[in-house]
Structure formats: structure tokens, C-alpha cells
Point group: C2
DNA sequence: ATAGAATATTAGAATGTTCTTATATCATGT
DNA sequence: ACATGATATAAGAACATTCTAATATTCTAT
């Protein structure tokens, strides 16, 4: 409801995936980066592990997590950031507008 | 629980913001792109409007939504997609590892 | 005035995420 | 064996998101 623009934050699970795209990370690494607790991070990692999106290599007491299906994660994250600052209308959008104009041919529409 | 990797989907609200980064979109445009109903899209747009992240220009019966704080949205979305395929350890990560090594100077750690 | 297209509102259920607290496991150094 | 650091599990509350169904509003053309 009264959520302000500044408080918008990407969901933790996506942030974790994003972090792991940059390289192997242990839980402590992520604790220092994400604004959530160790417990919450572990919970998400468990979910991601069950989904076979991540796995870890144990290094002493550390668990170094990594993406085990990076291409799949690309498919999830890349579309979110694809920026097309120049093209303001896509081909598809123009086609849809043509469709609409065809169904009802109006004059005043730039 | 048994969520599979393929079923991972970016949250609708972020997808909407992402769509709007590409240009002005009306609700019907987004309906054809996102796997959710018109109602759900309208609901999210209301939230985003209240948060002053988006606004619309009315064009006949269409409401053409656009980002009214694109820089802010960049700040939300860009970090998710920042990909560093080469650098596997960031400076910060190396620093943290040094810190740990200082606190307990161990031999077997490559 | 009426119809149809586009969009919005409302309300409730279902589901998902986050937070909190407490406790447990495992590895390492002493 | 014990302490400590790193991580995990469990369980419940709080909150957010999604879905569904029904209904309402606005605009445009007839």
C-alpha cells in the first residue's frame, strides 16, 4: 500500500542468484551484501538447491555455493535488465497497434 | 518445496518494470507478454503508481504507462543482471578472505 | 442510449516470502 | 573434550503476491 519507491527491493532469491552469477559465494559473503539474515539466506539456498539451480563445494567449514545451471539463470535474470533506451516501440507493439487500427479505423491517432 | 528450476519465474512486478524500461506500454501490451491476467497487471500498476514509480498518459481508451523515475528503476534492475563471467572473486571477497585468514592463519587454503 | 473494448476495483482464498527465535550440525583449532 | 565460526533446520507469525470471480468505470463508435 503505502510502499515508497525507495523501499522497492528485488526479492532476496533473485539477488542471491544474481550474486552467484558473479562467482562462487559462501553464506557469509552474501550476509555482508544482502540486507537479510543468515537464516533467511540459508532458507533460500535450500530452496534453490532443491530446484537444482545451485550446489555447493565444501571448503573447510565454508560452503561455497555456485550456479549449477547458469544458462537457465541467465534466462531468468537477463530479460529483467535488458534495456533498450532508444527503441520506444517494439515491432510487436507496432503490429498490435496496426491490428487495433484495422479493427476500428480512427483518424486522430499519432 | 518441490519447485523445479524451470518453474522459476521473475516476479510480475519486476517484469512489468522491465517491460516499461523498453518503452511505453498499455495494459493489453503487457497482457500479451506476461503470463498473468489483466486484473493482476492492473493491481501491480496501481501499486507502482502509488509508489510514484510509474504514471500513464491516456490515449483514447488506452492507458499508456511509462516509468516516471527510470534512474531509480535502473538501480533496482541493473544489479540483478550485472554479469561478470570472468571475475570469479571480487576485491571485496578477497578482502573478506584475508580477514578470515588473519583471524585464524591456516595452511591448507588455496 | 447502447454496445464493445480497455482498464480498474473489490474481496477472499491460496500460496509464497520474510522475519524471528530457538536449536542443531559440522569443521577447526586448542 | 571444548569453544568457536559457519551453516542448517524447524516452526510460527507477519506480510506480500498471485489467482479467481464478479462488478464497475471510461472511452469510442453506432
Amino acid at each position: 500500500m503505502g510502499r515508497s519507491a525507495e523501499s522497492f527491493r528485488p526479492p532476496t532469491r533473485l539477488q542471491i542468484l544474481s550474486e552467484l552469477r558473479k562467482g562462487t559465494r559462501c553464506v557469509t559473503d552474501m550476509e555482508e551484501i544482502l540486507p537479510v539474515t543468515q537464516v533467511n539466506i540459508s532458507q533460500h539456498l535450500t530452496v534453490l538447491r532443491n530446484a537444482k539451480l545451485v550446489d555447493f563445494a565444501q571448503d573447510g567449514a565454508l560452503r561455497c555455493y555456485y550456479l549449477c545451471r547458469p544458462k537457465l539463470v541467465d534466462g531468468i535474470l537477463d530479460p529483467l535488465a535488458a534495456d533498450f533506451p532508444v527503441i520506444r516501440k517494439t515491432k510487436e507493439q507496432i503490429d498490435r497497434e496496426k491490428e487495433r487500427a484495422k479493427r476500428k479505423p480512427v483518424a486522430s491517432r499519432g
